[in-house]
Point group: C2
Chain length 405, copies 2
């Protein structure tokens, strides 16, 4: 294959780092009067244990990790997954199994017994319940587990995992840096493959293939959006629409290397753009510049949002803020989108080691068949917060729209 | 790009088909004394509405669909997703929005009001709670919703969706047939790209790229497993291990076209295999043959399982059944793995139009450093149940192990 060198794995995240994450989780549990935490979702499971397998795509069998306030965590996995634990989660010695699928008891009684054995001090255990969490088990089983544990209380512990996960270790940053570099290269190369008459589906496929050739491990999120003078949405998959002269095209991707995501987009215009369209592109690019200057430890997410949003509003001309998007960027890591958000209501204080996206967008009218139609331009970069400010993980997009002739 | 012709979309699934699915769901709701059903997960959402977007990878914002016992369903989506509904779910006219992320109320109050307005007859509503379901919203919000609705009861409705989804329409079968054909071609082509000294990671990447080149839309599940004289697991991602003469290699994929999955594997051996290894491969191939002959409408899943398992046990020689796998095949569709299962406890009666995998495996010992080590061979095909029996959707693997020299 092409460029196979880029598949070179990074040094593995050592067992000590996983043990230290678990120890920090245990401190948070005790400080919050919690006896244990139940973890079920792919990203949190991998964060605490290293467990790594495509098997999360298979929704038949759930997997559980129980972290007690003190002592050793244990995993509860289907018998056929024990070997995945052995290979990818060697820091966890205690692996309990059942033969799945078994709808009558898919691991729930083992989890209940384990949680109950730990819940002796505070009679409170935590689970992934809070905003942006996704509990990855049948919720009928969770309700049953809740009844089995009563009067032991189950409260949210997702916020503690988030607090730990927001600041990345050097090993985590290296993975995000790798994938952001791969995708930066793919976006640069893509310009030469685009042409009038091509469909969004074709462009998206070329882009996915190129990212894999350069060493991306997974390319689960590829949005492609194009239309005359600007696109209509930034969250749609590619369709059969073919490119015409005068179109603005956007591709956006959440792609991953060893489980860690980048998330950014690039714009391309077919033929020379109007001054107005060029202006809107430069506006979101300049708003990103405002964000790059505003981000530093100690500043709140909402402060950076305000600096970027104010800049957009003050310079929008015929354009206007897209309130329906709700934010102008977010965290990246084991998820493509994770807290915190650059929004008006997120008061999270920025710390060195956070990995974030800056993602300003603007809406504007273009003449349509029946009056005006709404169009959008969005621009996104990925950054690492440093001690004094921030550093780009993506290769900065050009301020002038790349033209496909 | 290569082979771009294969990207040609199939005729879209018409709005009438989505409306008919909703109508059947409504019949099931009323027959089971339920006022409405709340749907949150990607596959069920797409099944009922057509909603199609890569945005499910982003876990920040949930999406809700409410199907009443009678009348029109409605969607509750973040404001920035309304355009996705307009484009991909035109059969649903009622789309309600909120600006997300808003941790204080991410759509929950709109959903609660809607469910409450319908829950007037039976005072019971359904949600995705049962075995193999995944509710795709924060469960803290679900518990809050439960409290807001009380005394209205929330019970499982996932089983009704499954009942509908198990039998595929011609449009659904066409999509599964397309992806099974693409992947069959990729597996055939892969043999020429394999060589001693290559790593599992490289082989996996070549395979992913080839499937995309042939028109697969997504390749989320790619397992690669290799070892001397047989592999150790069938659910692990590719690693740095390089191939040696005497290795058995397996690649397994759940890949999709327009949202519909195939799920099957192929085996390759490096150099002439031992008679014993060849025998175990032929055993699982022959057991698949037993399954192909046993599947027909009216037979139960557990009966086919028994026929295949009995054949394996009776002819295993030094080998033995892998009880820890729990089953010998399963349903495929909008999920890579969906009910029913070819297991000893699944009494689901097979119907024409079901799409299933037959996936027999066998374990056996090989001499190792310290005594014997366990190895596995698995073989999988995808089928469509017809009026009189079944039909292969995959190109049947050769009975003789393909040899890489």
């Amino acid at each position: 294959m092409d460029a196979q060198g880029t598949l070179n794995p990074l040094p593995p995240i050592p067992a000590e780092e996983y043990k230290s994450r678990v120890a920090k989780m245990q401190e948070l549990l005790d400080a919050n009067r919690l006896d244990a935490m139940l973890v079920t979702s792919e990203d949190n499971y991998r964060y605490l244990t290293g467990f790594d397998s495509p098997t999360w795509v298979n929704l038949t069998r759930p997997r559980y990790c129980v972290v007690p306030r003190a002592g050793e965590p244990f995993l509860v996995v289907p018998a056929n997954a024990a070997i995945i634990c052995e290979r990818t989660a060697p820091s966890i010695a205690d692996v309990r199994t059942w033969i799945a699928p078994n709808p009558a008891d898919d691991g729930v009684s083992i989890v209940a017994d384990g949680l109950r054995s730990f819940a002796t001090k505070y009679k409170r255990v935590a689970a992934e319940l809070g905003a942006e969490s996704r509990m990855t088990m049948p919720i009928g089983d969770f309700l049953r587990l809740k009844d089995m544990l009563a009067p032991i209380e189950i409260v949210d512990g997702f916020k503690f995992l988030l607090a730990l996960r927001m600041v990345k270790s050097p090993a985590e940053v290296a993975r995000i840096r790798r994938i952001a570099g791969i995708v930066s290269d793919s976006f640069d190369a893509l310009k030469g493959s685009l042409r009038v008459g091509q469909s969004e589906l074709e462009a998206g496929q070329i882009f996915k293939i190129d990212m894999l050739k350069r060493g991306a491990h997974t390319v689960p999120y590829v949005c492609v959006s194009s239309d005359r003078g600007g696109y209509r949405s930034i969250n749609v998959g590619p369709c059969e629409r073919t490119f015409n002269k005068g179109d603005l095209l956007m591709l956006d991707t959440g792609s991953a290397f060893e489980g860690y995501y980048c998330d950014f987009n690039r714009n391309y215009v077919f033929g020379k753009p109007s001054d107005e369209l060029q202006g809107f592109h430069q506006l979101v690019w300049d708003s990103t510049e405002v964000g790059l200057k505003a981000v530093r430890p100690g500043v709140r997410m909402c402060d950076v949002w305000k600096a970027m949003a104010d800049y957009l509003a003050a310079n929008a001309g015929k354009g206007y803020l897209r309130k329906k998007q709700g934010r102008l960027g977010h965290g990246i890591g084991l998820r493509m989108c994770e807290p915190p958000s650059f929004s008006g209501i997120d008061e999270t204080v920025i710390k060195a080691g956070m990995t974030l996206t800056l993602e300003p967008s603007i809406a504007f009218p273009v003449p349509g068949k029946d009056g005006t139609e709404e169009r959008v331009v969005v621009h996104e970069e990925n950054i690492l917060v440093t001690e004094k400010g921030c550093e780009l993980l993506t290769r900065r997009a050009p301020r002038e729209l790349p033209v496909v002739n």
